[in-house]
């Protein structure tokens, strides 16, 4: 069973990794192309992170806060410690900060489920934004400058493959199987000995960890980050990729995130009314999959 699930999980990510590799080779030339590829791959990695939690059948609108934790921690440390050791230390610190934040917030948030959890996580995201905007130590509303520009198509592709592999390994593991069981029916899962809350907190933490790692790379694209980069729109971007790509499939959300990023890069005039486009996309999806939504939820 484990091997069957692992094979299925890796079959899901292999074509997406190949597509990402080709995109990196084709578009990754020139400064703008390289930035676009980095943004595509980082968004896809963040979506992969959220997908682990969405695989539990739960929706979070607060994952931007974990990306911010990763980005700000990495930016603060790498800006003060020169060289690759500073970047590595920054990424590690960002991941650790996100784990801590996920454990603390998850303890309270994960008592909720469904719409209530989505709304509470939105509150977490907004709290994060207000904190970032009003804390001078991390640059306040103006943001942080002077971050080493270490993110390039090659290392973001490595990040992409790493995140995809972690998600595929998780999905193919016993923990992934237990997560799918919890997603199907929490009370039935509880009746057969599964500690549902513990499973949720573990998945939430792993999910935050991957999102934060990708967030750490985000600051390395432009050398600058601000609270605007990690507002609710970022959470919605991730969530939309997961819904469009298919929650729990890893490859689907990653591909959807890449395509969304590319779409707005090629059609910049569409970026401003993106929330209208997202709303229309969700309405279309709901109509197209109405039977599935009616039976199983999103």
């Amino acid at each position: 069973m484990k091997n069957k699930n692992s094979r299925k999980a890796f079959r899901n990510i292999a074509p997406v990794c190949l597509t990402a590799g080709i995109a990196a080779l084709v578009f990754g030339r020139g400064a703008y192309g390289a930035q676009l590829v980095c943004r595509m791959l980082i968004s896809a990695s963040m979506a992969a992170g959220l997908d682990i939690f969405a695989g539990l059948g739960q929706l979070s609108l607060g994952h931007a806060v974990f990306a911010a934790a990763g980005a700000y921690s990495c930016a603060l440390i790498s800006a003060r410690t020169a060289g690759s050791s500073g970047i590595a230390a920054g990424l590690a610190a960002g991941t650790a900060a996100a784990v801590l934040l996920a454990l603390v917030s998850g303890f309270a948030l994960l008592k909720l489920r469904g719409d209530y959890l989505a709304l509470a996580s939105l509150g977490l995201c907004e709290t994060g934004r207000v904190f970032m905007e009003n804390t001078d130590f991390i640059g306040g509303a103006a943001g942080l400058y002077g971050i080493p520009k270490f993110a390039g198509p090659l290392n973001t592709f490595v990040l992409f493959c790493f995140c995809a592999t972690v998600c595929a390994v998780f999905n193919g593991s016993k923990s992934g199987f237990i997560s799918r069981v919890v997603a199907q029916d929490e009370e039935a899962a509880s009746s057969i000995g599964i500690d549902v809350r513990r499973v949720k907190i573990a998945a939430f933490t792993l999910s935050a960890c991957i999102t934060a790692l990708a967030g750490g790379f985000y600051g390395g694209i432009f050398g600058f980050i601000s609270p605007r980069d990690f507002g609710c729109a970022r959470s919605v971007d991730m969530l939309l990729a997961v819904i469009v790509g298919g929650a729990g499939t890893v490859g689907g959300p990653m591909l959807a995130a890449m395509l969304t990023e590319a779409f707005f890069a090629f059609f910049p005039s569409a970026a401003e009314p993106r929330m209208i486009i997202y709303a229309l996309a969700l309405i279309f999806l709901t109509i197209a999959r109405r039977r599935r939504v009616a039976e199983n939820g999103l």
Binding site: K174, F177, A188, S191
Partner: protein, 241 residues
């Protein structure tokens, strides 16, 4: 094996379970009957840990050792061998039959090898790759029982196992449960409205009305008791098929 003392549970001032005392011996098969709304499922939820009692205590007695179960969540109660099925089937419907049973084994840290044995024992082996949601109702009931057994349940709380089954299916299920009880030394507590089914399977019955136990004893004596005739059968004595 299981003992409840003065168990009480109210919902918004309405008493669902009121001062229930109940005991079940190891290896015994006990039935719980009563009209709709009598408090049977509420009592089940208290025993399985899905609800917390307002008052009273639940004990598990094993080898002379008495363990208090109050406050333990459902996933912790299965560690003590208390498993349950649901009145409205709650299978993992997008998963195969095998995966459903495997979930039971893995959920409680049991050996996954027991799954294939259980599939064969309960006649589910030919259906092992079928999606649980696509099965006929009778087979789904059996899968839910198999899943609970895979999780290591020794005291099985069955909520209306024969509901919705044809007479033949109910007879088949009763036979299976009898066999499993003997082979695995299971203790059964079941809620049922099918009196022929419950009398064929149970050593003792409890009858409930308005959250209280109104009769207790051997099945036929309980069914003929005036309190049960009055509250469960609406005044007319039950006639066996």
């Amino acid at each position: 094996m299981l003992k409840c003392e003065n168990l009480c549970k109210s919902y918004g001032g309405i008493s669902a379970v009121s001062g229930v005392n109940l005991y079940i011996k190891q290896g015994e098969s006990v039935g719980l009957i009563g009209s709709n709304g009598a408090g049977k499922t509420s009592l089940f939820n208290l025993l399985a840990g899905f609800e917390k009692p307002d008052k009273g205590e639940i004990f598990l007695i094993r080898g002379g050792e008495k363990t208090k179960l109050n406050g333990l969540p459902p996933h912790a109660r299965i560690k003590f061998g208390i498993g349950r099925t649901f009145q409205n089937l709650r299978l993992f419907k997008d998963m195969s039959v095998h995966e459903n049973i495997l979930a039971g084994a893995l959920g409680n840290g049991q050996n996954p090898d027991c799954c294939l044995h259980l599939l064969e024992e309960l006649g589910l082996f030919p259906l092992k790759d079928a999606k649980a949601g696509s099965l006929p109702y009778g087979s789904r009931k059996t899968v839910e029982i198999a899943r609970s057994l895979a999780s290591g349940a020794k005291l099985l709380l069955l909520d209306e196992p024969a509901a919705g089954l044809s007479e033949t299916e109910a007879l088949y299920l009763a036979g299976k449960l009898k066999k499993l009880r003997q082979e695995k030394n299971l203790t059964l507590l079941l809620i049922e409205h099918n009196m022929d089914f419950i009398c064929g399977l149970c050593d003792r019955l409890y009858a409930m009305d308005s959250g209280r136990i109104v009769a207790e004893g051997r099945p036929r004596s309980v069914l003929h008791s005036p309190a049960v005739i009055d509250t469960v059968f609406g005044g007319a004595p039950y006639v066996f098929a």
